[in-house]
Symmetry: C2
Subunit: 305 residues, 2 copies
Amino acid sequence: MSLRLKAFGSYRAGGRPVTVTGEPVRRIAFTDITHYDVDPNGTFLTESAYVQYFTPADRNAEPPAVLLHGGGMTGAMWETTPDGRPGWLHGLLDAGFEVHVVDNVERGRAGWMPGLWAGAPLLRSMEEAWTLFRFGPPDGFADRRAFDGQQFPVDCLDEVAKGFVPRWTSTTDAQVAALRAVLERVGQAILVCHSQGGEVAFRAAAGAPDRVAAILAVEPSGAMDAVADLATIPVTVVHGDYLDTAPIWRDLAARWTTMAQRLRDRGGRAAIVDLTRIAAGASHMPMMDRASDRYLDAIIADRCR
Amino acid sequence: MSLRLKAFGSYRAGGRPVTVTGEPVRRIAFTDITHYDVDPNGTFLTESAYVQYFTPADRNAEPPAVLLHGGGMTGAMWETTPDGRPGWLHGLLDAGFEVHVVDNVERGRAGWMPGLWAGAPLLRSMEEAWTLFRFGPPDGFADRRAFDGQQFPVDCLDEVAKGFVPRWTSTTDAQVAALRAVLERVGQAILVCHSQGGEVAFRAAAGAPDRVAAILAVEPSGAMDAVADLATIPVTVVHGDYLDTAPIWRDLAARWTTMAQRLRDRGGRAAIVDLTRIAAGASHMPMMDRASDRYLDAIIADRCR
């Protein structure tokens, strides 16, 4: 690869102050030689998004692409693939897009605040990923026996699992607010979201449709009923293979179709890109699949405008 | 800015599997429409480091620089400064260095595992940062009244605080192991570390001195007694201003001097770069100070070889 950048860097978007009071001071050893009293009371800034952006020197005429990860993952999911190839971040830059990669509230470099949110943080097991991401049958996990024709490089499953981060299920409102703050800063964006990020993206877009030039939703898993506020935005839903392997995927596939139809019924523009038309065997993680480059090219070409 | 990259991307280094058993299955709502049973048992891969690397097209003849953040921070601390200027990551790339930016175990995109490590995770308050990072006197926090001549842009303190992440104090061994795995992969590196990252860097380097071409330690806060295994590595300690404002800094300043002398006594090479010679008013975060570019230039020029 070779890439000429006009600019790159990072910023924080959104966030709110939280004040802690009434907690006891504790003596803490921070390194082998630094021990000091820590006052856990004070002011904290939390619920912001971390965004890393890249502007190619040869930029296309499109709005910037804002990439929003799915649940239990971070913006790193768009970078180098598990088998070491350039990811969709690279592909979008090569195509001339300015790209903003989000780590949303409580994920990755956005940071998190102990004790702030309801419920326990959940970390995804490799076994759950194996079935939920449709890599193979449940009893295939142990020896990495994938579905026939699977595009995901299952011998590199470890690399993906190392990238899993805990997630709360009570932070969606905060994530929507932070993504809205990202959109305010970017101006107008093509919103590329994945899985649980779909709920966040659809809700943020519905609240600021003038800020969203298009939505590319890769197997989104939420917020697909309230289409009224999305009718001015071209929506492309992208999905992979093996959708009949579990009720959750059969249900979501039906919802993708329904959402697209409802958008059209309201005069909106909606398309569904079935990645199996490009290459059979797409998993829930087409940005990591062996055919990831071809999948991205097809999405860029066939998206709804 | 303009930057031509030969390569960039990310990888994971180190890590170990953890198996969870005996926990009850729970019904969880992940988005507004996806509710399913989650089995918290299974296999997890944790304690790896996330590394993002950049290789400039016009690369210099130096070993790659590996950047290790301090406590409660992530690799984002080396990027864009709080007041929006290119950070030391950019400066090192402009100088032709290949740069590997680490999020070490349990920080940022490296992820963390609930319940795994001893003790509670600590999030730094803005008040603690104000005094510990030597931005100003304790009673100056409320109205951002900094020390005279302070180089840190205190009106942008919010941006830094948004980047604070919780940290455990029981993960140093795991962080040392993960940094060792990074060094294994990089080959031979110039290790640039900050604050609590100093303890991790010195210990990792002592265990693999052939992998470390030099250490640039910005106000390191640990592991400075066992110099025997570091005597073959040129060590540069970099420090800022206002070291007489608190006992912790007076103590550490004395240790930096002692460490350098001990290294020299063993035939090693050691230098101390006092940033006040470049521009007075350096804080604990010289990579974020207004004079950050000049500080980096001085460190590159005056480092011990």
